[in-house]
């Protein structure tokens, strides 16, 4: 840190509070707009210095939750604590939670320096200290020479970093980021993902990041909460969410999957057999908390990378274990994308199945019209009761 002893009071409070290892806690927070339950009994705790994301489709309530943490909305019930202290009755301009807005909301009538100094001025920091702190934060974001530029002279990525610097100069307890990468083009977005992660490490501040883009959440976060219809579906590490989704929603929302609706024809606890609505027999494994019994309606998910596609003429390979699902079909089209290439196969029941393939460019590659078999392990069929 810059060494300026800025908020001594906070430091004392930090040592005295017992729950201070959490920078941010939400306890059973709910918010209703008219008859719409935007946020429904949501709880979360974010440990100090971590990168936490809330991932969900638009309209799931994630923005409302963030606005409650920033203080722009008042929860109907529940408590929000920052460094262990309840802030529910603190007005937004008194909370030490800073926010990077979706469209950044940099002030166009001020230059970069004035934008960054704005919060310091509001806090009554003396002019000489403002000077050094703005300079310091500009160096940290690797833009030491832009202090006198106007906002409209900056590139998209520079604006992004200035918006973060404008918050970080105030040394917030938590930095909120509301889909700040949404307005950038694809290339820059990819670069900014990495940059954001590095900035977070450098400032050692807790970041709470909101997005509907699963790749942003998966790449950057230590922990991700998947939100749907005002509720958290699952909180966990990115790997956790991907490989072990707790609900059908998480399985469908995080990562690409094939998805079938069907009915369980037999069940022995973990391994089940099901018949899809189109009449295909598939064996799979129950995931999540709900137990699957015979006759239950089931949704099954299989990730494309777990499905192996083989040309029919390669008779050599044996169809091994009984646990494996094997279906045959015809290649409808190839989706070439380098190492992540996929093949779309129309199976005999008329479903389209997406599977990963290796396309080397040689003559052995699959072509549309080829007859193929698809096979995958029962463990990889993630089944949820619907």
């Amino acid at each position: 840190m810059s060494g300026a002893p800025s908020f001594p009071v906070n430091c004392v409070a930090q040592h005295m509070e017992t729950t201070a290892e959490y920078d941010l806690e939400c306890i059973s927070v709910s918010k209703k707009f008219g008859t719409v339950q935007a946020v429904d009994d949501v709880s979360l705790t974010i440990p100090k210095g971590s990168f936490f994301s809330i991932l969900g489709p638009s309209g799931c309530g994630k923005t409302t939750l963030m606005r409650m943490i920033a203080g722009f909305e008042h929860p109907n019930s529940g408590d929000i604590r920052i460094k262990g202290k309840s802030v529910v009755n603190t007005p937004p301009n008194k909370r030490n939670v800073k926010m990077v807005f979706q469209h950044l909301a940099l002030f166009p009538m001020m230059n970069v320096f004035e934008n960054i100094a704005y919060g310091l001025r509001c806090g009554g920091v003396p002019a000489s200290e403002i000077e050094t702190r703005v300079k310091d934060v500009l160096e940290r974001i690797a833009l030491p020479d832009v202090a006198n530029r106007e906002i409209h002279q900056l590139s998209g990525g520079q604006k992004q970093r200035i918006a973060i610097a404008r918050c970080m100069v105030l040394k917030p307890d938590v930095l909120l980021l509301d889909e700040p990468l949404g307005a950038l083009d694809l290339k820059l977005r990819e670069a900014m993902k990495i940059e954001l992660k590095l900035l977070q490490h450098q400032f050692e501040t807790t970041f709470l990041y909101i997005t509907h883009d699963q790749s942003e959440a998966l790449v950057m976060s230590d922990n991700v909460a998947v939100m749907n219809s005002g509720k958290f579906e699952q909180i966990g590490t990115p790997q956790n969410l991907y490989h072990d989704p707790a609900t059908a929603f998480v399985a469908g929302f995080v990562g690409d999957t094939n998805r079938w609706a069907g009915k369980a024809t037999s069940s022995n606890g973990s391994v089940i057999k099901l018949e899809t609505d189109t009449g295909r027999q598939v064996s799979g494994a129950a995931r999540g908390t709900g137990k699957i019994s015979q006759g239950d309606k089931v949704t099954a998910f299989v990730r494309p990378e777990h499905i192996t596609a083989e040309k029919l003429d390669k008779k050599s390979r044996a169809q091994t274990a009984a646990a494996k699902n094997v279906i045959s079909g015809t290649v409808e089209s190839l989706l070439f994308n380098g190492a992540n290439s996929r093949v779309l196969v129309r199976d005999q029941s008329g479903d389209l199945v997406e599977a990963e393939v290796v396309l080397t460019g040689g003559s052995q590659d699959m072509k549309p019209g080829d007859d193929v078999t698809l096979n995958w392990a029962a463990q990889q069929t993630m089944c949820f009761v619907t």
């Binding site: 807005f101 009538m109 918050c167 105030l170």
Partner: protein
């Protein structure tokens, strides 16, 4: 360009546009240029260049800057225009916040009420305000024996009369700008620790300022050139347009009127330019 016109049609079109701009400029040039003709009448032939109609201090070529009545008219016009601008920009700004931020029943109805003064003929605004003010003054006089001079025709009524419809113009200009304001900018300022007043002073008003300035200039110009409403409300302090009209009807056209016209056209053109420059968004968004 999407047009696939043949060159002859395009040429004809250009000629038409040129003809229009000549039509637009001709009377203004006639009104302005005769100010420099060294003659007692604003007619051809051209008798040589002179600035007498601006600066000469003796009859018969008494210049506008030595003509007492014209100068007084200019003075009253300026006073009225400044008061009208200040008032109408203030109320226009309030209206902009009211209609962009406020939430109240029958908002659409009130919005239309706000626009209506712009389409009421100026003559009617003039007489209706005259009628109300006079009847109020009369009742006060009959009941309390006090003469409320300010409700009789005079500067105060002229200001009210012009204010009554110019406020619609300022409201529309400032509302349009406030609608473009990204409200998250205010939230960002709150979030950075600013108080409500400070947000207004440092973020919202600076954003609105170009529109307020432009609206002020437009009010000034509209007030300065207004005739129809003013005609019924004017007292002994006649503003410039009334003085000029008087002169035109009683004395006939004299080149000093051309001098005033020239002065007014140059002045209003400069102010109009200034308001356009002020409204140009420098952020380019």
């Amino acid at each position: 360009m999407a047009q696939r016109k043949n060159p002859a049609i395009l040429f004809g079109y250009r000629l038409y546009v040129l003809a229009f701009f000549i039509f637009l400029a001709a009377p203004l040039l006639a009104a302005g240029l005769f100010a420099f003709n060294d003659s007692l009448f604003p007619t051809l032939p051209w008798r040589g260049f002179t600035l007498n109609w601006f600066f000469n201090d003796t009859e018969p070529q008494l210049g506008m800057f030595h003509d007492r009545r014209l100068l007084r008219g200019l003075y009253y016009s300026s006073i009225i225009a400044i008061m009208v601008s200040v008032l109408s920009v203030f109320v226009g700004t309030c209206n902009a916040f009211l209609f962009v931020r406020g939430n109240f029943p029958a908002k659409n109805f009130f919005y239309i009420l706000m626009v209506i003064p712009l389409v009421i003929p100026g003559v009617i605004l003039g007489i209706s305000i005259l009628v109300l003010a006079s009847s109020m003054a009369n009742s006060v006089e009959n009941a309390f024996d006090i003469d409320l001079g300010m409700l009789r025709p005079g500067i105060f009524l002229v200001v009210l009369g012009q204010f009554s419809f110019i406020t619609t113009i300022t409201s529309l200009v400032i509302t349009a700008r406030l609608k473009k304001f990204d409200e998250t900018m205010e939230e960002a300022a709150f979030n950075l620790g600013a108080s409500r007043i400070r947000v207004l002073r440092t973020v919202t008003l600076p954003f609105l300022f170009p529109a307020m300035f432009a609206a002020g200039i437009v009010s000034f110009l509209v007030s300065f050139e207004n005739f129809n409403t003013t005609l019924f409300l004017v007292g002994s302090e006649a503003p410039l347009t009334i003085t000029m009209y008087d002169r035109m009807v009683k004395v006939g056209s004299t080149p000093v009127l051309n001098a005033v016209s020239f002065f007014l056209m140059v002045g209003s053109a400069l102010l109009a330019l200034l308001s356009i420059v002020a409204q140009r968004d420098k952020s380019g968004t």
